[in-house]
């Protein structure tokens, strides 16, 4: 990471933070450049020096979505069995990523609902990254068609979960999503949504 102390970089970062705050609090449409500038103690003109428009702020923000932190789990290799702990670990990983990007995600989702194409494309890209990661976890442990179904079930469940936590809890979404009691409930629900035990070789069902 760059450690330049260039005043311009610092100011850009402050502006971007203020923009994210404003978008989160007032929604993209109602937030104004004036409001964002005021939050940084700048005039509109000073802000425009760094970012030509509100749209430019949005585009810079979405370019900064975090890298998916899935690396270490993926290195564990295909010989490990899928287990309840592994499933919970994957769920927590995705939820942690959600928490890290929650406000940008909210913005992306909100704009996608209006048909904004950049928002839709960034979302789609992000989703295909974590879907691909999850798919790899299942591919290495199950027959292909079962892996696809289990991945779909997990992805659908996690999407529903993160969208519901945002629509129900609003600005408290992040604090809810990191709460251990919430995670415990989510672990129980995910074991219902993704009953991988049914697909393990040699499983005998019933009774």
């Amino acid at each position: 990471m760059s450690h330049r102390t260039d005043a311009g970089d610092g100011r850009r970062a402050k502006i971007l933070t203020a923009a994210l705050d404003a978008f989160a609090e007032r929604g993209y449409a109602r937030a104004t450049v004036r409001d964002i500038a005021a939050r940084c103690g700048l005039t509109d003109a000073a802000l425009y020096y760094y970012f030509p428009s509100k749209r430019a702020l949005f585009e810079t923000l979405v370019a900064g979505v975090h890298e998916y932190p899935g690396g270490s789990a993926a290195e564990e290799g295909p010989t490990r069995h899928m287990s309840q702990e592994a499933l919970e670990g994957l769920t927590d990983l995705v939820l942690d990523w959600f928490v890290a990007d929650e406000r940008i995600l909210r913005l992306l989702r909100r704009l996608s609902l209006e048909g904004d194409r950049l928002a839709r494309d960034v979302r789609a890209q992000r989703r295909s990254t974590w879907r691909g990661f999850l798919r790899a976890q299942f591919d290495s442990r199950f027959r292909e068609e079962d892996a696809v179904l289990l991945t779909d079930a997990l992805v659908t469940f996690l999407s529903g979960l993160t969208i519901l936590v945002q629509t129900i809890h609003g600005p408290n979404a992040r604090s809810v999503a990191v709460d251990p009691a919430y995670r415990e409930r989510v672990h129980r629900y995910v074991s219902i949504a993704v009953p991988f035990e049914r697909f393990l070789p040699g499983m005998v069902l019933g009774a």
Partner: protein, 184 residues
């Protein structure tokens, strides 16, 4: 009059969005003042809630004998596709929710109610104390399917979800969350 207000509101909300539609315009559409509208619906939010409530669904009583996951999955899908009969309104509700309106909370409570009353009776004999967990899981997954499609294609998502492939896949996902055939 109440029905006329709802019909006018549905059209205007779907066409222009919730925020951009005023109660006065809804009233004008029905030939009444906004005061008349407020008589039936204290707030604009109440109109949206009433529109989304829709007709009550009958609880499904399970057939005697062992648990039938296929029939239960079909009931879940029926509730789900009932929501999809008003896709524009659900999109408006989602927008409201993302804009910080708490109407969405009320609606989510309504969705849980639907699942509970319609699907609950079929699950209770076999899931017992886990019934509520299974119902929440079904709610989360079906919401995921609906909102996922809505975010990808806000205008045409209901169509997309009605496509046979999408429907079949959703049914399989729902089946995963249900106890297996013959479970006791």
């Amino acid at each position: 009059m109440r029905e006329r207000i709802l019909a006018a509101a549905e059209e205007l909300f779907s066409a222009r969005g919730f925020a951009a539609t005023s109660v006065r315009e809804i009233g004008r559409c029905c030939g009444v003042t906004d005061a008349a509208v407020f008589y039936y619906f204290p707030t604009k939010q109440d109109i949206l809630s009433a529109l989304l409530k829709g007709p009550e669904m009958e609880p499904f009583q399970p057939a005697p004998g062992p648990f039938d996951p296929a029939a239960t999955a079909d009931m879940v899908l029926e509730v789900f596709y009932r929501w999809l009969e008003q896709p524009a309104l659900h999109r408006i509700l989602a927008i409201q929710a993302f804009d910080g309106d708490s109407t969405a909370q009320g609606f989510t409570a309504q969705m849980i109610e639907s699942f509970m009353s319609v699907v609950g009776p079929m699950l209770r004999p076999v899931c017992r104390e886990r019934t509520q967990e299974v119902l929440y899981t079904l709610l989360i997954s079906t919401s995921g399917a609906m909102y996922g499609a809505m975010l990808r294609d806000p205008a045409g998502y209901a169509e997309a979800l009605r496509a046979p492939g999408a429907r079949a896949r959703l049914r399989e996902i729902v089946l995963l969350a249900l106890p297996v055939e013959g479970a006791r």
